[in-house]
């Protein structure tokens, strides 16, 4: 297995395991302002990804990302399936069309974020996963090539997820609560933050070993 494929495989494994470990927290956040299934849904999707990890990491990177997306779409069982699924499908699609990592990371991530926005007919500020993904995209653009990029991305995601607490939800089940959605962290923003942190941690571990 190539170095890149090996890095990718361990990165996906760490990210999926982190989401699975966060399932109780995601569920409890979702019980506060939603239907309480975000943790179990994401866990189901990530377990399915782990179950196919060998097949996924045997693919070229673009196809591997699309396989992750399709697996999430088919197994998650809530709106987060198509939302996260579209994220990975679009990232894979961008890499199939002349984009390359790491140099085009912001572009590829941007395509993925746009796909989430289109799928959910939503944008930042509505108390959703986009409230983490959009700030992370901004940091990827503004800090591209910076030696401390990973650290800045982590900080961005951590701050962004906290900023969802005072927001009033206007999308998803939480919007049914109106003003009562204020004061709670959005579960989708939290799962996005968990994924971003896991990817950062995995890449940092890689750097430390080099």
């Amino acid at each position: 297995m190539s170095m890149q494929a090996e890095t990718f495989k361990s990165l996906v494994k760490v990210a999926a395991e982190q989401v699975i470990a966060s399932a109780p927290e995601l569920t409890s956040l979702d019980q506060a302002i939603g239907d309480g299934d975000h943790g179990t849904n994401m866990k189901r999707g990530c377990e399915a990804v782990l179950g196919k990890l060998d097949a996924i990491s045997a693919q070229p990177l673009d196809e591997a990302l699309k396989m992750i997306g399709k697996t999430l779409v088919m197994t998650v069982g809530g709106a987060s399936g198509p939302l996260y699924g579209s994220f990975f499908l679009a990232a894979g699609e961008a890499l199939s069309h002349d984009k390359h990592l790491p140099e085009d990371l912001a572009d590829v991530f941007g395509s993925a974020v746009n796909a989430v926005s289109a799928r959910g007919r939503s944008h930042a500020g509505e108390k959703t996963m986009l409230d983490v993904l959009v700030p992370v995209l901004e940091t990827l653009k503004t800090a591209a090539g910076a030696p401390d990029l990973i650290e800045r991305v982590r900080a961005t995601a951590n701050e962004a997820v906290e900023r969802t607490a005072p927001m009033q939800a206007t999308k998803g089940r939480a919007s049914f609560l109106g003003a009562r959605s204020v004061g709670h962290i959005d579960p989708g923003a939290r799962s996005s933050c968990v994924l971003v942190q896991a990817v950062c941690a995995s890449l940092e571990g890689r750097q430390d070993n080099e």
Partner: protein, 130 residues
Amino acid sequence: MSDTVGIVIVSHSRDIAKGTADMVRQMVGSEVRVAFCGGNPDGGLGTSVPSIIDAINDAWSAKGVAILVDLGGAETNSEMAVEMLEPARRDHVVVCNAPIVEGAVMAATEAAGGSTLAQVKAVAEELSAD
């Protein structure tokens, strides 16, 4: 029977989806193909893209298929399922912006008269017009 638009009902709850399909059949009998699904891939409350794809194919008609959904995730998963259909079918399936029970009954009644997919969708969506 293939001369009428097919109806698919997608609820978070299999019981609601089945009950809605029962009400539809009471109106239109077997004149219209009706399929339903509900529940996540583990059988709990939620929706499942593979089940929605199967339901669309079960209700398939040359005139197309109209999908009625309950809440957000059912809509998002139905839109995703439509995009994953084979290309020849993709453009002949619509998700209606209508209440699930009334929408399904009215859509199926319209379909039974031989209306087009656009007409069936429009009738279901009149319910959400105001």
